[in-house]
Amino acid sequence: MRSPIRLERRLEQPKWLNWAVPLISLVAALILGALMLWITGKNPIDVYQRIFERGFAGKRAFSGSLEIATPLAFTGLCAAIAFRMGLVNIGGEGQFYMGAVGAAWVGISVDNLPTGITIALMCLAGMLFGSVYAAIVGILRARFNTNEIITSLMMNYLAGIFLNYLIFNSKSFWRDPNSPQFPKGKPVADRAAWNTYTVFGIVTPVAFVIAILAAVAIWFLYKKTRFGFEVSVIADSPKAARYAGIRTSSTIVIVLALSGALAGLGGAADVGNFRGLLDAKGVQMAGYGYTGIVVAALARRNPITTIFVAIFIGGLTKAGYALQGPDFPSGLVGTLQGLILFTAVAGEILIKYRVRANLNRTGAVAA
C-alpha cells in the first residue's frame, strides 16, 4: 500500500513559511468549520458574516474584541514561551486565576496610592502569584521529572476549586460581604481601576499596551540574550545543553515561572481593567488559559505574532459571546478554535516537510 503523497524532509526552512503557514492553517480551519456548519444544517456564509460583523467590523466591535484579545495575549505568551523550550504549560488557566486572586487582593487593600503605583503593584502581585503557582509545576518537572502537562492541568482544576472556595464557600477577604444572597467578589478600590485610552476611536485597555510591551520584552529575551540562547539549545537538544554546561533544571523552573507570571499578569488585567473584582465564575467560564494554547500554536510560538493572533481569536470569541442564541449554538466558537489548533498543528508539517506526489517508475500516480 503506497500513499499518493510523500513527505520529504526540508533541508532548510524558508522564511516566508513563517507567515504563510499560519495563514494557510487559518483558511483551512475556516473551510473545515464551514463544512461542519453545512453538515449540521447551518448556513456557513451567514454565520461567518455575522462573526465578522460582531468581531471586527467597525470601531465598536473592534474595541469589544480587544477586551478579549488582551487576556488572550497574556495567556498566549504564557503558552508560547514554554513551548519555545519544548515545555507544555497548559496551566495558564490556573495561573491566570491565581494572578487574579493576587491582583484583587492588592486592588481591594490599597488606599491613597496614586493610580500608576496601584496598577504596578497589582501587576506585580498578579505576576508573583502566577509565577509561584507555575514554579511548583516547574520544580516537580525539574526535580522529579514529573510530566508537566498533567500536573499543570491538575493545578488548573485545583485553582478553580480554590476560586469557588474564596467566593462561594467561605467568607474570605475576596468576597463581597454586602451581598450574602448572591455571592460575588468584593469590588476593588476606585483607584485600582486601570485606564483605557481611545486610539483612533478604538478603546484600548492599558493592559493591552502592557501585553505588547511584554511581547517585545520576550522577543528580546529569546533573541538577544544568553538566557534565550540557552533555552533554544535545551529545546533543540537537551543532551547538547548538558554537555555545554547549561543548567537545564533551573532553566525549566525559570521558564515556567516566567510563563506563569505572564498568565498571572493576564489575571491581574482581568481584575483591574475589565471586571473590577474577582469573578470566580466569569474567569472559569472564559477559559482564557486554554484558548491561549490555540493562540500560541497558531502564532508558531513567536511573541510578536501572538499579539496579532490574540486579536483575531479575541474577535472570534467576542462575536461568539455576542451572537449566542438559538441559531448560534454556544459550542461553535470553541469548535472553531479547536479546528484552528488542528490545522495549526498539521501546518507544522508544511514547515518541516515538502509534500510531493508519490510517483512510480512509469510516472503515473500510484494508488
Binding site: 491538575m154 470553541g334 479547536g338 488542528f342
Partner: protein, 319 residues
C-alpha cells in the same frame, strides 16, 4: 451491615471508577502502540453527548437502547480518535499538541457542547439510564453483595475486558507485536509488522473505550447530559495509565482508588459528616499529582514499563 460506610465507599468507588477504567484501558492500548493520546477528556465528552443523544432517540427495550447508546458512544469516540491518529501517525505532528487540539476541539465549550445544543440533549434526563443490577439475587448479601453483585452491566464487562486485555497484551502474538511497536518501531518494522496499522487500530480502539467511559457519565452517573460533565476524568485516566504501569490489572485498582476519591464527597455529605466539600473535590487532583511525582522518576519510568517509543512519531528511514 450493608449500610456500613466502608461498604458504601467501596461499592461506589467501583461505580465511579468504572468510566475511569474504560478511559484508562483505552489509554493503555493506545500508549502501548507508542501513541500518546492527550485527547481523552474531549473524546469522553463526545462519547457522553452522542450516547445521551442515542438514548433519547433510539426506541425499543431498555436493554437494546442502552446497548446501542453505548455502542454509539464508542463509535463516536473511535471517530474522534481517528482524527488524532491521522494527525499523529500519518502527519507525524507533535502528539502533545495534537491531543490538546482534540480536547479543545471536542471539549467543554467545543463540539460536545455544540452537538448538545443542536441536538437539544442538554439537561434532558435519558429515558433508560444504566442501573445497577442484582446479580444472582446476591445483591443483599452482607458486605460482598453491594460491592460485587450490585454493580452496572458495564462494570462487569470492564472486569472481563481487564482480563482479556491482560491476556491480549502479554499472552498473544499480536499483543507481543503491539508492544514491539511501542518499544521499538524500527525493529517491529524490520520484522514485517506494520507500525502504522498497529498504531491506527489501537488509537481508534482506545478512543472507542474512552467514548464508552464518557457514555457512562451521561447514561449512569448523572444520567443526563451536562456540558463538560466529565470534569477532568479524562486527564485522571491519562495519569492512571502511568499509575497502573501500563498494565490493565493495576490500572483497575487505581481507577477504583480514584473512584473512591470522587465519590467520597457525596457519600460523606449524605452521612452528614461535616467536612469541606472543596477539600474533597480537590482530593482526586491532588492525589493525581502526588502519584505522578511518585512514579515519574526516570528510573521508575523505565523499570515500570513505559513504552520506549511513547510519543515519538515513527519515520521509516528512506533509502
Amino acid at each position: 451491615m450493608n449500610s456500613n460506610i466502608f461498604v458504601i465507599i467501596i461499592s461506589s468507588a467501583i461505580f465511579y471508577g468504572t468510566p475511569l477504567f474504560y478511559a484508562a484501558l483505552g489509554g493503555i492500548l493506545t500508549e502501548r502502540s507508542g501513541v500518546l493520546n492527550l485527547g481523552v477528556e474531549g473524546t469522553m465528552l463526545i462519547g457522553g453527548v452522542t450516547g445521551a443523544w442515542a438514548c433519547l432517540h433510539i426506541g425499543g427495550s431498555a436493554w437494546f437502547t442502552i446497548t446501542m447508546s453505548i455502542l454509539v458512544g464508542a463509535l463516536a469516540g473511535g471517530l474522534v480518535s481517528t482524527l488524532l491518529a491521522f494527525l499523529c501517525i500519518t502527519l507525524k505532528t507533535n502528539q502533545t499538541v495534537a491531543g490538546l487540539a482534540i480536547t479543545i476541539f471536542a471539549g467543554t465549550v467545543g463540539l460536545s457542547s455544540y452537538f448538545a445544543n443542536i441536538w437539544e440533549v442538554a439537561k434532558k434526563p435519558v429515558p433508560h439510564p444504566i442501573r445497577t443490577m442484582d446479580v444472582f439475587g446476591l445483591a443483599d448479601m452482607p458486605v460482598l453483595g453491594p460491592i460485587l453483585f450490585r454493580q452496572t452491566s458495564l462494570t462487569y464487562v470492564s472486569w472481563l475486558l481487564a482480563i482479556l486485555a491482560t491476556v491480549y497484551l502479554f499472552r498473544t502474538r499480536i499483543g507481543l507485536q503491539l508492544r514491539a511497536v511501542g518499544e521499538s518501531p524500527q525493529t517491529a518494522d524490520a520484522m514485517g509488522i506494520s507500525v502504522i496499522r498497529y498504531r491506527y487500530i489501537h488509537t481508534i480502539l482506545g478512543g472507542a473505550l474512552a467514548g464508552v467511559g464518557g457514555a457512562f457519565y451521561s447514561l449512569a452517573i448523572i444520567p443526563t447530559w451536562v456540558d463538560g460533565m466529565t470534569k477532568g476524568a479524562g486527564w485522571i485516566a491519562i495519569a492512571l495509565v502511568i499509575f497502573g504501569f501500563w498494565r490493565p490489572s493495576l490500572t483497575l485498582l487505581g481507577a477504583y482508588l480514584f473512584g473512591a476519591l470522587q465519590s467520597l464527597s457525596s457519600t460523606l455529605k449524605a452521612r452528614g459528616v461535616d467536612i469541606s466539600g472543596d477539600i474533597l473535590d480537590a482530593l482526586p487532583f491532588i492525589m493525581t499529582i502526588v502519584v505522578l511525582v511518585l512514579v515519574s522518576s526516570r528510573f521508575a519510568h523505565r523499570r515500570l514499563g513505559a513504552p520506549a517509543a511513547l510519543g515519538i512519531p515513527y519515520e521509516r528511514e528512506e533509502r
